[in-house]
């Protein structure tokens, strides 16, 4: 079960948690609550990922969704923080995936058949990419130039690299999906900082009332986004 938030306002949400962390403790989210509270004073400290892994995430997600003329990239939007926070949720433990064996591989179109949940995919996948980077480029991924990082990501996406137990493509898709989630999810989850992802797309967030805007003959929607917590931009 995902917890529901009683008071969704982010600031009061953090404050509320400081007072009553019991709800989060009960659902095994004590670390998340602590991280959220600490964020106000110091940069986010990853909980699941170690330093090397976190640097990989920051670097790789920025290549997937780079800062450019359109607006901010994954790093400024807090995507690595988002992914680390997601690793504390039931999703990262594959809680609604069917994970009973036997695990037999088959044609790609029959879907995911590995015995790994997202936490495993990251742990093993990042180790695999770091190993690959050192082997082929003599440095860890985050120390490589952007073009070299892109070469590695392209190889992973294209399916030509096997990362020990994990096909490179599977890891790439996991990373790409979570990166885009962190870019565009409500800022409640740690990414999409300052609603920067939504502003780029012209998505109004939780406005959820377009009675007057069903057909305005192709004019752009005029109001900026609002988050679940009431943050606007």
């Amino acid at each position: 079960m995902e917890p529901t938030l009683n008071r969704p306002l982010r600031r009061s949400f953090v404050k509320g948690l400081l007072g009553t962390t019991s709800f989060w403790m009960a659902s095994g989210h004590a670390s998340w609550a602590a991280a959220l509270a600490a964020e106000a004073t110091q940069p986010y400290q990853p909980v699941f990922f170690n330093g090397t892994e976190y640097r990989f995430l920051e670097a790789a997600s920025e290549r997937l969704f780079p800062a450019d003329h359109n607006g901010p990239g994954a790093k400024a939007l807090g995507v690595a923080e988002f992914i680390d926070r997601q690793m504390q949720t039931p999703y990262a433990h594959g809680e609604n995936w069917y994970m009973s064996g036997p695990f037999q591989q088959g044609p790609a179109n029959l879907g995911y058949q590995l015995p790994f949940v997202p936490r495993d995919l990251y742990r093993k996948g990042i180790a695999g990419v770091e190993h690959y980077a050192r082997q082929h480029y003599g440095k860890g991924f985050s120390d490589l130039s952007a073009p070299h990082q892109d070469e590695i990501l392209t190889a992973l996406e294209g399916g030509s690299v096997q990362l020990d137990e994990i096909p490179g493509r599977v890891f790439f898709e996991q990373l790409r999906t979570n990166t885009l989630e962190g870019t565009f999810a409500d800022p409640l989850y740690g990414g999409n900082r300052g609603l920067g992802g939504w502003i780029m797309l012209g998505f109004p967030g939780a406005r959820a009332d377009f009675m007057d805007w069903v057909n305005q003959e192709g004019a752009p929607y005029p109001i900026g986004p609002v988050s679940i917590s009431g943050e606007t931009a």
């Binding site: 994970m99 892109d150 012209g202 967030g205």
Partner: protein, 592 residues
């Protein structure tokens, strides 16, 4: 103390189950409805603003079936090993009170009358030889005229918005010219056209087609339904599909039936009750009740009943029939047996049209059932003779509210970048200035496409998983290709600066990784012959006459329309015959 005997047990708390439970309770029966998932009410599940959360909703799949407990296995062909459907993707079955009816979109169709007698209709027009080898084309055994009162009844319960074409023989409006006569108008006027839908309407009309407003179970106005349940006006928030409507504007069992049914002393709803099997007597011709597991306490309970209604959704109904020994399992080699036969789905491909950068499609604005469609290439509405395939597709712009994570993860591909700066350019342009056009078509039944029990994988209750053997066949691929080719002139007339027409490719296998629809059908179909159908025309099991199996499992082939309107009408139809005939003298309603 919990009861041990009731008049009727209903398995599943979705549309099918809730309609049946309401009807049987009205008939004075004591009814227990068992739902494997948890309790769900819209004030809790749909509360704003937490419900307007894409990550928690459609992305982390909060309201859908939890596959860790049970799933299906899938293979394309009989010589393959079927593998578990481990992550939700191609279809998103429901779980919890309301079933998928809580998180559906709300496109609420009747049926194209010829689809009910498709075999007869094809033979009349093109001769029996026109039907390809291996296609199990069949009639439903019921006519549109017989079902009409029940379509009407369902629309008045769902609060359906739409524009009629013909009511009692008179043309009354600008509705679908291909749609059959109606006894009454829609209870609510049609939903407004979004900008995207309105330009499709104009272009389709100019191209000589016949556009109409999609019938939508989204309330265009405030509405009080037949049962006294209330709906508020939809504001096009765009959070229908995969979500619980926070305004009580989208019809759901939770909003439109259960508030009243829950008050009835004859009715009991038990959530977290996973039905393991229907119990049969030694002759295997009579059900004695069901055995269910309380998923919280892990305690098994047997409940006896005179009547058992399966409303657990298409493939779950087949699973329950197979594990309980109701009827004879289908064997594709000998072509005998009926349970699992005629398993069908729906073909759907989504094409994309880009408008000039001065036009904003505001794709986040929308409602699940709203849009504009054409039926010129659906059902038997066009000449199949020179085309050489059976079936068809409505084509529509159904802007239901595209949210950013879905837009971003789906963007790129097909030769264009899926990440990096060029990807960002394309994503933003596509999000702001494009719209989707779907060909949402039929899928015929084939001898080697079917459901049975998997020999290897099991659910957490120790029961074998259901196995799907399914792929796209040449007839349906060519149908899809033809209909998609008809979209091009419309897209041009809309002022497209670019278009990406997507169709199925020859030989393309069914891919479990991409969402298509949750419009699975067949497997325990209705018909007139017990050799080729599991159910008679009243959705009563030919083999176990006190079991009725309600759902899209009854469809002999997948139709172009979304299924739920038909499911609801069939439920009211079956309930009517149970109430007026069966209860007076229980037994087979049709002689085998």
């Amino acid at each position: 103390m919990a009861k041990t005997h009731v008049d009727a047990i209903v398995v599943g708390a979705g549309w099918a189950g809730s309609i049946m439970a309401k009807e049987l309770t009205e008939a004075g029966l004591s009814v227990v409805m068992l739902e494997r998932g948890s309790e769900r009410t819209t004030p809790v599940e749909g509360a704003y603003p937490e419900s307007i959360d894409e990550l928690r909703g459609a992305v982390r799949k909060r309201l859908f079936q939890n596959l860790s407990q049970s799933t299906v296995t899938i293979r394309n062909t009989m010589d393959q090993t079927a593998l578990p459907y481990r992550q939700l993707a191609a279809f998103l079955p429901g779980e919890g009170v309301g079933g998928a009816g809580l998180h559906w979109s709300g496109v609420h169709f009747r049926v194209a009358p010829e689809d009910l007698r498709l075999r007869s209709s094809v033979i009349e027009r093109y001769g029996e030889k026109f039907i390809p080898e291996g296609m199990n084309l069949q009639d439903y055994g019921v006519t549109y005229e017989e079902l009409e009162p029940f379509f009407d009844k369902a629309e008045k319960v769902f609060g359906t918005s739409g524009e009629a074409y013909k009511v009692q023989g008179k043309i009354v409006g600008n509705g679908n010219v291909f749609s059959p006569d109606r006894s009454d108008n829609f209870p609510l006027p049609a939903m407004k056209d979004t900008f995207s839908a309105s330009i499709f309407r104009d272009a389709a009309s100019n191209a000589g087609y016949h556009p109409y407003a999609l019938p939508a179970a989204n309330a265009s106005r405030q509405y009080t339904n037949t049962y006294g349940c209330q709906m508020g006006p939809c504001n096009f928030c765009g959070y229908c599909s995969g979500y619980d409507c926070y305004l009580d504007s989208k019809a759901s069992p939770n909003v439109n039936i259960l508030p009243v049914l829950r008050q009835d002393p004859g009715f009991t709803l038990i959530p977290n009750a996973h039905v393991l099997r229907v119990n049969l007597d030694s002759t295997k011709t009579k059900a004695t009740g069901v055995t269910y597991l309380d998923t919280k306490t892990r305690k098994e309970t047997s409940l006896s009943a005179d009547l058992v209604i399966l409303g657990a959704f298409q493939f779950n109904n087949i699973h329950l029939m197979l594990v309980s020994g109701i009827g004879k399992p289908y064997d594709p080699l000998s072509n005998t047996g009926t349970i699992g036969r005629n398993f069908v789905y729906q073909t759907i491909t989504s094409s994309r049209v880009w408008l000039p950068s001065s036009s904003y499609t505001n794709q986040f604005v929308g409602a699940g059932g709203a849009g504009v469609a054409i039926d010129d290439f659906n059902s038997m509405n066009f000449d199949h003779g020179p085309l050489g395939f059976v079936g068809g597709s409505p084509v529509w712009v159904n802007q239901a509210g595209t949210k950013p994570i879905a837009a971003a993860t789906g963007a790129g591909g097909g030769g264009t970048p899926r990440w990096g700066s060029a990807y960002k350019d394309a994503l933003i342009n596509t999000y702001k200035h494009s719209l989707g056009i779907d060909a949402h078509g039929s899928n015929m039944a084939y001898r080697d496409v079917y459901l049975d029990l998997d020999p290897t994988w099991k659910d957490v209750y120790g029961q074998p998983l259901l196995r799907m053997t399914f792929t796209w066949k040449d007839n349906d691929i060519r149908m899809n290709q033809y209909v998609v080719s008809r979209i091009e002139p419309v897209a041009r007339a809309m002022g497209a600066t670019k278009m990406n027409l997507v169709h199925l490719d020859a030989g393309q296998p069914f891919d479990t990784r991409n969402y298509q629809t949750t419009h699975l059908g067949g497997g325990a179909i209705m018909g007139e012959n017990p050799q080729t159908s599991a159910l008679n025309r009243y959705l009563q099991s030919w083999d176990v006459s006190n079991v009725f199996v309600i759902g899209s499992n009854a469809f002999p082939q997948g139709m172009g329309y979304n299924p739920t309107g038909m499911v609801a009408a069939l439920a009211y139809w079956a309930a009517h015959h149970i109430r007026t005939t069966y209860l007076k003298s229980p037994g087979p309603l049709v002689k085998a």
